[in-house]
């Protein structure tokens, strides 16, 4: 049990580093001009599903805050908090998904997709814009337009890339009870 605890905090560190590297340096163009796919949310989804809500939230928070700091500004707290929120919500499904067990069927895949859908929709259409209005007094229409765009693109990334990742990953784990007696 103790080891799991340490592992969670190490996973947060490495997860945040992954989040940072993917969010900061990796630019895969999306169909909309001048925007990129945020691959970091696929990894956030996977790590949160593996290590639970606390790890998910911290990975989102630390990773996003570091990205903002590295661009040379004060972290844009409303969006940092929204990233953390995404990690927490996906992490809440961790027990049910039980990724470490290795048998990842269609029902679990659907659950993973729904978890990401809920998390991103709530984070970018509710949490981020509302905080933008409260903290930065920005125009309502602008923040909701931004939020809706972020939600759609992040949901596509998280569900498609995150889903494929989790499928491929669980195939590499030996399933429980996969040994037969001869």
């Amino acid at each position: 049990m103790k080891n799991n605890n340490i592992k969670t905090f190490v996973a947060v560190g490495i997860g945040a580093a992954l989040f940072f590297v993917l969010g900061r340096f990796v630019a895969i163009p999306s169909p909309v001009p001048n925007t990129n796919i945020s691959l970091q949310y696929a990894v956030l989804g996977l790590m949160a599903a593996m290590y639970g809500p606390v790890a998910g939230g911290l990975i989102g928070f630390i990773g996003h805050a570091l990205i903002d700091l590295s661009w040379g500004g004060i972290p844009w707290w409303s969006w940092v908090i929204a990233s953390a929120f995404t990690g927490v919500v996906v992490g809440l499904f961790a027990k049910k998904l039980n990724v470490q067990e290795g048998d990842f069927n269609k029902a679990k895949f659907a659950m993973f997709a729904v978890a990401n859908l809920i998390a991103h929709a709530a984070a970018w259409i509710v949490v981020a814009p509302v905080l933008d209005i409260l903290i930065y007094a920005e125009p309502v229409k602008k923040v909701f337009a931004q939020g809706a765009f972020a939600a759609v693109s992040n949901i596509i990334t998280a569900v498609v890339v995150g889903g494929l990742l989790i499928l491929a990953y669980t195939k590499t784990i030996a399933k429980k009870g996969s040994l037969d007696k001869e």
Binding site: F9, V12, L22, P29, I62, W71, G72, P139
Partner: protein, 276 residues
Amino acid sequence: MAANTVLNYMPRKSVVHELTGTTKLAFFLLFTFASMITYNIWVLLGLMVVSFGAFKLSHIKLREVRFMLVFMLVFLALNDFFIFLFDPNQGTKLYGTRTVLCHLFWRYDLTAEQLFYILNISLKYFVALPVAILFISATNPSEFAASLNSIGISYKAGYSVAIALRYIPDIQRDYHAISQAQQARGVELGRSEPFFKRLKNSVSILLPLILTSLNRIDTISNAMELRGFGKSDKRTWYTRRPFARNDFIVLALGAMLLLISIVVTVIFGRFYNPFV
């Protein structure tokens, strides 16, 4: 690669560098919240004087941080543009009056209120920028975990941040190697591939990256457990330094700025309105 422009610690002999990491972190947070709460232009100007003064004291030259500055200006210009595009009347909503300077086209009028609002938003960036740059470039990364712990965050979470900072270059190098190896095998991520193909291809880079990272997590957490990490509730830090006189002065200044910002907001409201 771009690695050396990220979170770049620039050691110097200066008053700012000699402050403890704890002081810098606490001041950074206090200052951030002070500038976040208020929209009063006078308070913002006062904060700007403080942050530019701190930058001057740090002996960090402007051209060393040019990259961050340029990026911030571009981001600021874009943000201002989008605010105007989506709601040219946000200023009117906030300040309650409407002074049209000139009509542009369709629903877009240039109003004094909107300009003032955008000026305030831009000021907020300029207030925050020097302090943020200082925080990144004058804090020794190995002192950072100790600072987080001493402002009351659990040392395990502090260690997570330290691990993240430590392994960013490694993971970056891994990513680079993996993506080149996959590209040599014909995995393409550029515009020439259709969108969903691109997403699928990214998985073939991400999966090895994640598997190596998970191995790393195992190795590191085993090594930490072997050394008894997490056994006690508290720990000491090699890099932690005792507070000096200047640390107390800076902390007091930070607390005072936040207090001023709160008091002004409570008494006079969040916005300073020159139009009434």
